[in-house]
């Protein structure tokens, strides 16, 4: 039975749907000319060979109107959204989009939209997933997707780089990217000494306001935009984005394992060994690591070839995690920014276009290491609620209990009233066994913390 992908409805060229659990893309007749040209000119082969485009195979010709063809894309293991990416992920996705546009021009094509949602991370690298983005280049026409590119990619990068990484969350509020005029208002005026910022942020915002009512038929018709102008525009954006930097500073979490009083080297090694043994017992196909920090234990899962999503609320930790995965050419880890106490919700038209975290689950195994005290004490979440949440999300759970005697918990309670009378190992176990069976528990060497392997009740 056909089940449409709810976020796929804006482009009349085609749509994405599931049938019997398999993902397909329908190409409509109105896109026939561009689709055939895209393949015949060699651009498809070029992009796939460079690892820039998700490969597709043709499965059906024709069908009920308006179907031209049905194609099957390679399945992506986890869908992530731009508001969950760190700085370098957004930057790499932006540069890939521009690289694709540059290549397309060499083949007489252009991309008609530059949405960040057209990019997904596959085996650690950003790739274009929307094969219907391409259209034949019309000589003399400016880039239709310029405004969208700046809103989806340039604005968040500029805000993170020059103001604060938390402003990236605006991408979730503004579905079609952060408005350029908002970015212009926030950026200090002296930043416009940079010609790229002056052109693509300041001037563009001014022009958007000035010409909001239109520029008139004459100006639109007379205006010409040559191929060299187009290439110049792409290179200008590339140059600006390449120079944008964000060095994570002032993060409390980057040195967590090296500076922590709760762990010494022996404890960390023992914890790694136990996590590895638990993973071997559970043998999951995929893992979500909540509170992953810089991905130290995500690495234990990924080294076993397990597809691992490495979540953390701190953008600096995710940035460092991602930079390390790129350096090591790691293909099994995808680091993402996520606040577990306020995870990504369903958003968009009818709250159905972009899926919540829960809607993208469940996963076979969750790791919740050095996390429970942040949820229960810093965020006042009862154990029952935490256990209930995990039971909705996973079949297997590796969770670390951090007792009150632990140095980190002592620090948390140093300047606040201890209202956590129920915060104990006994109560923790009592609440969690309502949802999970405790398969094994191991006390970490030279630490007061205990690791548990749990299995959801009733799971096969």
């Amino acid at each position: 039975m056909r089940k449409p992908v709810l976020g796929s409805f804006r482009d009349p060229s085609g749509t994405v749907y599931f049938e019997d659990g398999v993902l397909y893309r329908q190409v409509n007749l109105c896109y026939k000319e561009n689709y055939d040209y895209f393949y015949s000119c060699g651009l498809y082969d070029k992009l796939v060979s460079f690892g820039l485009l998700l490969p597709h195979i043709e499965v059906k010709n024709g069908g009920e109107y308006p179907i031209y063809k049905v194609i099957k894309p390679e399945l992506i293991k986890f869908i992530s959204y731009p508001y969950e990416w760190c700085f370098s992920q957004i930057k790499d996705a932006a540069l890939v989009t521009l690289k694709i546009q540059k290549l397309a021009l060499d083949y007489g094509m252009t991309i008609k939209d530059a949405s960040a949602y057209n990019i997904q991370f596959v085996k650690g690298k950003p790739v274009l997933i929307d094969i219907l983005s391409f259209k034949k280049y019309q000589i003399g026409k400016p880039w239709n997707a310029y405004k969208q590119f700046c809103q989806h990619f340039l604005a968040p990068l500029v805000l993170i780089s020059y103001i604060d990484p938390r402003l990236k969350k605006l991408s979730r509020v503004f579905l079609d990217g952060i408005p350029i005029d908002l970015c212009k208002r926030v950026l200090p005026f002296y930043r416009y000494i940079n010609p790229g910022l002056f052109l693509h942020i300041y001037l563009q915002a001014k022009f958007q306001t000035r010409y909001a009512d239109g520029i008139g038929e004459k100006a639109a018709v007379r205006g010409k935009f040559s191929l060299n102008s187009f290439k110049g525009l792409i290179e200008s954006l590339e140059s600006l984005i390449n120079k944008l930097r964000w060095i994570p500073r002032d993060s409390n979490w980057i040195g967590y394992y090296s500076d922590s009083e709760s762990y010494n080297l022996d404890a960390i090694h023992h914890k790694e060994k136990v996590v590895k043994e638990f993973l071997e017992k559970a043998d999951p196909k995929n893992v979500w690591d909540f509170g992953a920090n810089i991905g130290l234990f995500s690495g234990v899962a990924s080294n076993k070839g397990i597809n691992t999503i490495s979540f953390d609320a701190d953008p600096a930790c995710v940035e460092l995690n991602y930079v390390n995965t790129v350096k090591q050419k790691e293909i099994n880890i995808l680091p993402l920014v996520l606040d577990l106490t306020n995870p990504s919700p369903n958003i968009g038209w009818e709250n159905e276009e972009r899926m919540s975290l829960l809607a993208r689950g469940p996963v076979e195994l969750v790791m919740a290491l050095a996390l429970i005290h942040h949820l229960a004490i810093s965020n006042n979440l009862p154990f029952d609620k935490i256990a209930s949440f995990f039971s909705k999300v996973c079949k297997w759970l590796i969770i670390e209990f951090v007792p009150k005697e632990d140095e980190m918990v002592k620090r948390m309670l140093a300047i606040r009233d201890d209202i956590f009378g129920d915060y104990s190992q006994e109560y923790f176990e009592r609440e969690f066994i309502k949802y999970f069976a405790i398969v094994e528990s191991v006390k970490i060497n030279n630490s007061k913390r205990i690791l548990y392997l749990m299995k959801k009740r009733g799971a096969v």
């Binding site: 563009q204 958007q208 102008s229």
Partner: protein, 75 residues
């Protein structure tokens, strides 16, 4: 008859003018008037910058090749 021909002529002109307002079926993305106009306005600057950079890259490449050959000969 004259009046009838006049009416037909006006109808044909209106039809042709309306045809000219047909939007490209693939322009499903709103490019934003200001962003569109900015590109047209700076088209010359962008093209000039692109050509200059290209020229400079080619020149630099030729100069590098020349000096590489020179050092190889001397070596």
């Amino acid at each position: 008859m004259k009046f009838k021909n006049r009416v037909i002529a006006v109808a044909v002109v209106v039809f042709i003018v309306l045809l000219g307002f047909n939007k490209n079926a693939y322009a499903y993305l709103d490019p934003g008037t200001g962003s569109y106009f900015l590109q047209i306005l700076i088209a010359g600057l962008l093209a000039g910058s692109y050509l200059f950079k290209n020229l400079w890259r080619k020149l630099f490449s030729k100069i590098s090749c020349f000096f590489k050959k020179l050092f190889k000969k001397n070596a």
